[in-house]
Amino acid sequence: MFENILSVEEVSVAYGAKEIVHGVSFNLRRGEILAIVGESGSGKSTILKAINGLGGVVTDGQIFFDGREITNLDDNSRRKISGESIGMIFQNAGASFCPVRKIGAQIFESVAAHKNWTYAEFESRAGVIMKNINLDAKILNEYPFKLSGGMAQRAGILAATILNPKLLLADEPTSALDTITQVSVVKELLKLRERQNISIVIVTHHIGVAAYMADKILVLRDGRQIEVGTKEQIFKAPQEIYTRELIKAAA
């Protein structure tokens, strides 16, 4: 129950010759939610990309997922854990669906990369999740452009969680949404954690979202880790001036 699902140890990430993230460390247990906060360009998304292998090269340190090293994994080994064990929610969920194919077909494609489900089987499993996240089952037969921002984000949650991953990475999942939809997406993510004991790393510049849903918070500035701790530590007794400024700015 308390084993670390994700360990990031002294990790530095570079794009080409330029190092973006310098020596960041944190641990995430089963069912825990970590929020990475910081201003734009602080390297928040870069950390997520290093974890899921979407860009950048880890030049130093190690990343462990579920007891296994995944630092700079090659494409083939990466493909086995991507989607099935690690799910990803994008900032712009609408753009994370291919515009010319129906939502259902696209999600089924990622399912088919890992499981031998028939489409009917996929539909019934998707139906359960969709009911939980208040998503009309009809959208499986829709094209992405027909979805509103909130619906697209929920469809993104469906795509990310259909295979019941152990870890969910969310890159600014609420930033493109209006306030009401933001709240509902955050609530869906929390319910997801309750139901599936899933661990979540959420990147956000919205301190409110971090305060509402995270157990742990990592404060990042210019690619350096300013502070990491439980939500209480960070909000009640911030150790660093920058953290205080950040909280003050949000309030």
């Binding site: 086995k80 991507s82 990803m88 994370s96 669906f97």
Partner: protein, 273 residues
């Protein structure tokens, strides 16, 4: 009120274009006479009530030959276009998606082909290959694919950076899957428009090669070759050269208009008004 029946404003030009393709497909059943049957007693008859477009120097019915010629000209142009657009787009998509050495080699190869004027290269290639419709098409294909490779490569380079490609990668889809399911469907629109605008050009080029004697061989009825046959009789029997000439003109015009319309409908970026 045609509007509700046919999608958007594509309607008016799709009708003649489709009609042309249908005529080409069912040409055998539409000819009033055997297009290859010679009747020297009626050689070079001007248009009359029997031979609506007159006859050529062997007494063959020109209307029948124009109709059967549409099969050779239009269908071979469409087939050629299908081959070069599909092969070219695939090559371009792979180049854009994979990058690296594959990209460099294939794109430099296409640069070499692009360094020649298209028609001059086709004439030289068709001449070297030794005439015949197939060789003429092959000569045009040799240089024609480069255009599609370039377009699809640049489109792929843009699409490669889209979030849905990342999403597909994260979902565990392999390179081939991403290429087939996500890249190709997204470049299909612009490629289709380019291809539609190209139909007229390809017809002209194929007919051009045949006119020069590098394409369809006698007695095959092909518009370019038919025009060449009538060339020496332009003043004495103009109908021999005018009928296939007008057929080429009409066909190219119709397909060019179709391409234009298609671009307006599909290519949002091309919406200038």
């Amino acid at each position: 009120m045609l509007k509700p029946l046919i999608p958007d404003h594509l309607s008016l030009i799709t009708v003649p274009a489709l009609a042309l393709i249908l005529v080409a497909i069912f040409a055998q059943y539409l000819t009033p006479f055997d297009p290859y049957a010679q009747d020297l007693t009626r050689a070079l008859t001007p248009p009359d009530s029997v031979n609506l477009l007159g006859t050529d120097r062997y007494g063959r019915d020109i209307l029948s030959r124009v109709i059967i010629g549409s099969q050779t000209t239009i269908l071979s142009a469409l087939a050629l276009l299908a081959v070069i657009s599909i092969v070219g787009s695939l090559i371009g998509a792979v180049c854009g998606f994979k990058g690296g050495r594959v990209d460099t080699i294939l794109m430099r190869t296409s640069d070499v082909f692009l360094a020649f004027p298209q028609m001059v290269f086709a004439i030289a290639a068709a001449g070297a290959l030794g005439g015949g419709l197939f060789n003429a098409a092959l000569a045009l294909a040799l240089i024609g694919w480069t255009k599609y490779a370039r377009i699809s490569r640049s489109l792929t380079l843009t699409i490669r950076k889209m979030p849905y490609i990342d999403a597909a990668k994260l979902a565990g889809t392999g390179s081939a899957g991403i290429l087939i399911n996500h890249v190709l469907p997204n470049i299909a629109g612009p490629i289709l428009v380019t291809a539609a605008l190209d139909i007229g050009t390809i017809i002209m080029e194929l007919a051009g090669l045949s006119f020069l004697g590098l394409g369809a061989m006698p007695p095959t009825a092909e518009w370019g070759a038919m025009m060449n046959n009538g060339r020496s009789m332009l003043q004495t029997a103009p109908w021999v050269i005018l009928s296939p000439g007008f057929a080429i003109f009409l066909t190219v015009a119709i397909f060019n208009l179709l391409g234009d319309k298609l671009r307006d409908v599909i290519d949002v970026r091309g919406n200038r008004n």
